[in-house]
Amino acid sequence: MNKNHILKKIIQSVITIILVLILNYFLFRIMPGNPLQMIMRNPKATPEAIAKTKALFGLDKPWYVQFGIYIKHLLQGDLGTSFLYKKPVGAVIASRVIPTVLLVGVGEIIAVIIGTLIGIVAAWKRGQKIDVTLLSFSLITYSMPTFWLGIVFVAFFSVHLKLFPTTGMVTPGLTYTSTLAKISDIARHMFLPVLTLSLVMIGEYALIMRNSLLDVFTEDYITTAYAKGFPEKYVVRKHAVPNALLPMVTIVAINLGLVIAGAIQVETIFSWPGLGRLMYDALKNRDYPLLQGIFLIVTICVIIANLCADMLYSYLDPRVKN
């Protein structure tokens, strides 16, 4: 792999992170005027919180000093104190990471696998009935608001059919007899949120994979592969799909933003105890330090994920390698 290429990508990511830090800082401090006023307007803010924030912001100093302080605190892992939970933002966020990672991870993996498969089948059978069906399915799921799909699922599967629990990650008050019982309880709670989250993403991945494959199909090396006497299946599997998958790597990474958006909605609907729900609560209660902390963490995670995707891409595509 090309060292310069990777170094370049890393530097670019660092620049982006710095830009995000600046944006984050200004969004919460400069734009709406004095942040202290906003905090004071917040009925749930305690005097201690105000005092702490005041000290944290160092509002009497010029903005670049304030920014320096802000960065210093960040580097020490200090993201401020949540109004709502009266605890350090870092700790609040940390307690919510695992459920989100679980939800987003499973949802994303399912969406990528099924979406890619649908895209392959649709492109392969282009213009045929199965393509039209899959294409319509993809376009319709792609057009659905995530939260709405979630509510409809709750209303239908949980309330109407009583098949799944409506909220939470575990059944409250239940003591488990075995690890397996715990896993199965979580799985039952996870089913609908994951279904919702992956359904809205499947459509997009399917559309992208289909387009990408259709592009590849017009390439001369595909005709060559057919001329070599290989059956269609072999040509698609060995020659077309590996090429068509390349753009998918980048898209999946960029789409992490979309997944986060989906997670916020799904977690809100299903009261899933993750970062998305936390963000919704922070928003509802105007808990700015918490909101800012989540925003920052999530954004940096997405930037790092994109960097990883770039590296994976340059590993997979021999043309970038050197």
Binding site: D220, Y221, T223, T224, A227, K228, P242, L246, L316, P318
Partner: protein, 321 residues
């Protein structure tokens, strides 16, 4: 012996605007060890002939009639699996634009060996050995076997594509514009290589090109294609020197001869016809200065006028049916 016999081949494309009669009644014969050039302007249907032989037409293309005999079997009567077995093993193609004919994410060696593994059931290792032999045949260093296509220069890619076409020892190789977009010197290298390989490996060859002037060193026979039909076919010297069809004459004169007199080349007035609604009678008549009433009404048939020289023109062949 005749290895390939194409009889009255008709290949049409159904598109929104109508049916394009890209190939409309083409017949020719390729003898064992012979090299035939198919020459004509762009859009005359020469590539479609090649794609019809191996049945690699795009979905909107369809073979509307005719027969294609390869060693006595009609390829058009074979089912999908049978025709697949013939591809590459018996008839392989060198496609136009080598840079695009190679899969960018697959090692060059693997792209060549996969055909051997698939068609001849070779083990991966023996297939690799074969690739190394092929590389030395086309003069590529065998250390480059694990390179990706983008690491090859233009000329090397073309050589690799040729090596690929030879992988299964085919009986016929079809070169579709094998040297277009290459520099003259590399063009000369490739043509020389193709000539040598054809003789060494005892293959038959079809060279498809718009460049009539490259055929002198490469082909025994030349067929001139105009608007989906062969208008003249004969030995390459005959086509260059004793052509009788007005189109062939114009085409030959369109190429300068730097070893001859410096005179301006000729152009052919008008444009090739629309193949959805080709002109009645002789398809060349709207551009032909000798056209008569008969040319406008009656379509000329390909007639033998001596040796192996056939021509489809009312003005030249006297033996009317």
């Amino acid at each position: 012996m005749d290895i390939l016999k194409v009889r009255d081949l008709k290949t049409y494309f159904k598109i929104k605007a109508g049916t394009v009669k890209a190939v409309d009644g083409v017949s020719f014969t390729l003898k064992e060890g012979e090299s035939l050039g198919l020459v004509g302007e762009s859009g005359c249907g020469k590539t479609t002939i090649a794609l019809s032989i191996t049945q690699l037409l795009p979905p909107e293309g369809l073979i509307a009639g005719g027969e294609i005999y390869f060693e006595g079997t009609n390829l058009l009567k074979l089912n999908e699996e049978e025709i697949r077995a013939k591809r590459w093993k018996d008839i392989s193609i060198i496609f136009q634009g080598a840079m695009n004919a190679l899969n960018p994410v697959m090692r060059v060696g693997d792209q060549i060996s996969e055909a051997c593994v698939y068609h001849e059931g070779m083990s991966y290792d023996s297939a690799r050995k074969r690739v190394k032999e092929l590389f030395s045949l086309v003069e590529i260093d065998e250390s480059r076997i694990d390179d990706y296509p983008h690491e090859f220069s233009g000329g090397m890619k073309q050589r690799a594509v040729i090596a690929m076409a030879l992988a299964c020892g085919p009986k016929i190789v079809i070169g579709d514009e094998p040297t277009t977009a290459l520099d003259v010197m590399i063009q000369a290298q490739i043509l020389q290589l193709l000539n040598r390989l054809r003789k060494e490996m005892d293959m038959s060859m079809i060279i498809i090109t718009h460049d009539l002037s490259i055929l002198g060193e490469t082909c025994d026979k030349v067929a001139v294609v105009y608007a989906g039909k062969i208008v003249e076919i004969g030995e390459v010297e005959t086509i260059y020197e004793e052509h009788t069809h007005p189109y062939t004459e114009k085409l030959v004169k369109a190429f300068p001869n730097i070893f001859g007199k410096r005179e301006m080349t000729a152009s052919i007035p008008g444009m090739p016809p629309n193949l959805i609604n080709p002109p009645a009678g002789c398809r060349f008549h709207p551009r032909c200065e000798h056209a008569t009433e008969k040319c406008r009404l009656v379509e000329p048939k390909l007639k033998l006028i001596g040796g192996e020289h056939y021509v489809a023109c009312h003005l030249r062949g006297d033996n009317d049916e």
